[in-house]
């Protein structure tokens, strides 16, 4: 069995967000790029599944739709343990275009399990996993917080409002994963980093999907007013605020 992990290249989560003066573009100067946090957890879980599978799962591939610069991020995926990597050479303009490029690749390179993060921490689209599943016409489960391989089938845990469901699904399957799927992301060892240099890395030409949406203008929120400090020995003042202004009591 083979697992594909779709990874998105996003600004580090501590990045101070800026846009160009005309508000038309994200200003990437000085930004550190990382593997999208959910994708990093997905990759960790994929590697755990492979290791626990007694050879049943023999390959974990990472794939990214992005320009040449994203190779640094993709190599991090190899360094933590993916067997090989694929980059589809296109600018990821919108979720549909990304899903379309991925679908075209997967049509000729099938996988048993495809893991996609629930969203990317930059554009918060919540879209690629579901779109990919529809384009490939295969089942998908969303909000997956756990996944196990049992008797050749995948058993997944799906978060629902107020609880969780344990589900069984056939392969091929797309699991749209969120927090809980793995405990901590793996950290690359020095050996991993060295090994990553010689692992198969394929660059594929894009088929050229057209995006369906476009970002026309970006804005930063209005700065918040100053925090009003209340001395810890004057809680009556806070009670007054809770009652009069916030109306919480």
């Amino acid at each position: 069995m083979k697992i594909l992990v779709c990874i998105s290249n996003v600004p580090d989560t501590t990045t101070k967000i800026k846009f160009t003066a005309d508000g038309k573009q994200f200003d990437a100067t000085g930004v550190q790029w990382i593997i999208n946090p959910w994708d990093e957890l997905a990759l960790t879980r994929a590697l755990e599944l492979k290791e626990a599978s007694n050879g049943l799962i023999d390959n974990v591939t990472v794939i990214n739709v992005g320009p040449k610069e994203t190779e640094i991020t993709i190599r991090k995926g190899l360094a933590v343990g993916a067997d090989n990597a694929v980059r589809i050479d296109a600018n990821p303009t919108d979720a549909y275009a990304v899903a379309f490029e991925l679908a075209k690749y997967i049509e000729t390179h099938p996988y048993d399990l495809i893991l996609v993060g629930i969203e990317s921490s930059d554009y918060n689209g919540n879209a690629v996993g579901g779109m990919l599943a529809e384009l490939l016409n295969i089942p998908n489960v969303s909000a997956v917080s756990g996944i196990e391989l049992k008797d050749g089938k995948f058993e997944v845990v799906r978060e629902i409002d107020g609880g969780k469901q344990i589900l069984s699904l056939p392969t091929p399957l797309i699991a749209v994963v969120q927090k809980g799927i793995a405990k901590e992301p793996r950290i690359a060892s020095m050996r991993g980093v060295m090994a990553a240099r010689t692992k198969p890395f394929e660059t594929v030409a894009a088929v050229g999907a057209s995006p369906l949406t476009e970002y026309v203008h970006f804005e930063l929120p209005q700065p918040k007013g100053k925090c009003k400090m209340i001395p810890a020995d004057q809680l009556d003042e806070l009670i007054h605020v809770l009652h009069q202004e916030i109306k919480a009591i």
């Binding site: 600004p11 989560t13 501590t14 967000i17 846009f19 946090p37 979720a95 549909y96 629930i118 969203e119 921490s121 918060n124 919540n126 690629v128 996993g129 579901g130 779109m131 990919l132 599943a133 529809e134 089942p139 998908n140 489960v141 969303s142 909000a143 799906r158 629902i160 409002d161 107020g162 609880g163 969780k164 469901q165 344990i166 589900l167 699904l169 927090k179 405990k183 369906l212 949406t213 476009e214 970002y215 026309v216 203008h217 970006f218 804005e219 929120p221 918040k224 925090c227 009003k228 400090m229 209340i230 810890a232 809680l235 806070l238 009670i239 809770l242 009652h243 916030i246 919480a248 009591i249």
Partner: protein, 322 residues
């Protein structure tokens, strides 16, 4: 032309997010001068369906089938696409929750419709279709344009509000093929959380961070939450260390919340945590470090030890409520 909303229910009942979606659709239809249809799949109670009219839903299509008991994205998308065709929908609305995210993305790909998720306001323009959404987990907003005739939207929770717009409700029937062969999601087990107030529904959230020092100290959080009728939440390290369950983790990689009031106790205010709470109407922070960054995000702050401040605050609230 019409607006179609997918209205989710939980064991036959609707929540505030459903009424918010209906209120939003009502306003959008006014702006677009078109009709709204609501789609309810599965066994929702009749009196609950009638309630939707109080928020402005004029047309509802209720479909019931055994196959609707468990969400199967493929099957549900197929049903949605058929209903969309019947009512000639060109705008599709979902709540920005787990189900909404799952179905909106599949449906958008099916219909080649532009998907804009997490929208926070009515459209800035209808033709071309331009609407605002949040991005970078609330650290920015953007105007997004759809280059398609049909659009699929998910509405951020608490972004619009719930409004009374009483109308008369038409129950419309629709002849839909339920292709059961599409459903491949087999339910093995369901586990419900035991929390008194669900985090995703809560108007008030009392949240604890590493400053609580350990799970044995959570009583002070729970007692305050109890008197306020609030849900409890926590930061990432707290859930990572197993002090609290994962579904309470709030922030960039956990849940994004937008309650009326968020009380942050012993939380430093790391950028990833603040990202998940910045849409709260009010934030109160209690932290013993006067320099903690949480005070930059908060409206009201108390510098003090949570183990002393919280019991005192709970006691005073109880007195007021008496």
């Amino acid at each position: 032309m019409s607006v179609l909303i997918y209205i989710e229910h939980w064991d036959g009942k609707f929540k505030k997010s459903s009424y918010e979606l209906v209120s939003y659709a009502y306003a959008m239809a006014k702006q677009m001068q078109t009709n709204v249809y609501g789609l309810v799949l599965g066994n929702a109670e009749a009196s609950e369906i009638d309630k939707l009219a109080e928020y402005g839903l004029e047309n509802v299509i209720c479909l019931n089938h055994n196959a609707f008991q468990v969400l199967d994205n493929q099957l549900f998308t197929d049903v949605l696409a058929q209903v969309a065709e019947k009512v000639q929908a060109n705008v599709f609305l979902f709540a920005h929750n787990n189900t909404g995210k799952a179905l909106s993305s599949r449906l958008a790909a099916r219909l080649k419709a532009g998907l804009i998720s997490g929208v926070v306001a009515l459209p800035d323009s209808i033709s071309p279709f331009i609407i605002r959404k949040k991005l970078f987990t609330g650290k920015a907003t953007a105007q997004v344009k759809a280059n398609t005739e049909k659009v699929v939207l998910t509405l951020s929770q608490n972004a619009f509000g719930v409004f009374d717009n009483k109308v008369a409700l038409n129950k419309i029937s629709a002849d839909i093929q339920v292709n059961e062969a599409l459903a491949q999601t087999k339910l093995l087990d369901t586990q419900k959380f035991t929390a008194k107030v669900l985090l995703t529904d809560a108007e008030i959230v009392v949240s604890g961070g590493r400053g609580l020092k350990g799970p044995e100290n959570w009583g002070v959080i729970e007692e305050l939450a109890d008197v306020l009728g609030a849900a409890t939440a926590c930061t990432r390290p707290v859930s990572d260390e197993g002090w609290r369950p994962h579904h309470e983790h709030v922030g960039q990689t956990g849940k994004i919340v937008a309650p009326m009031l968020y009380v942050a106790c012993g939380i430093s205010g790391a950028i990833q945590h603040v990202a998940g709470i910045s849409s709260s109407k009010y934030i109160i922070a209690i932290n013993k470090d006067a320099e903690a960054p949480i005070f930059e995000a908060a409206d009201y702050g108390i510098v003090g030890d949570v183990m002393q401040v919280l019991p005192e605050l709970t006691k005073k609230i109880k007195e007021v409520k008496k």
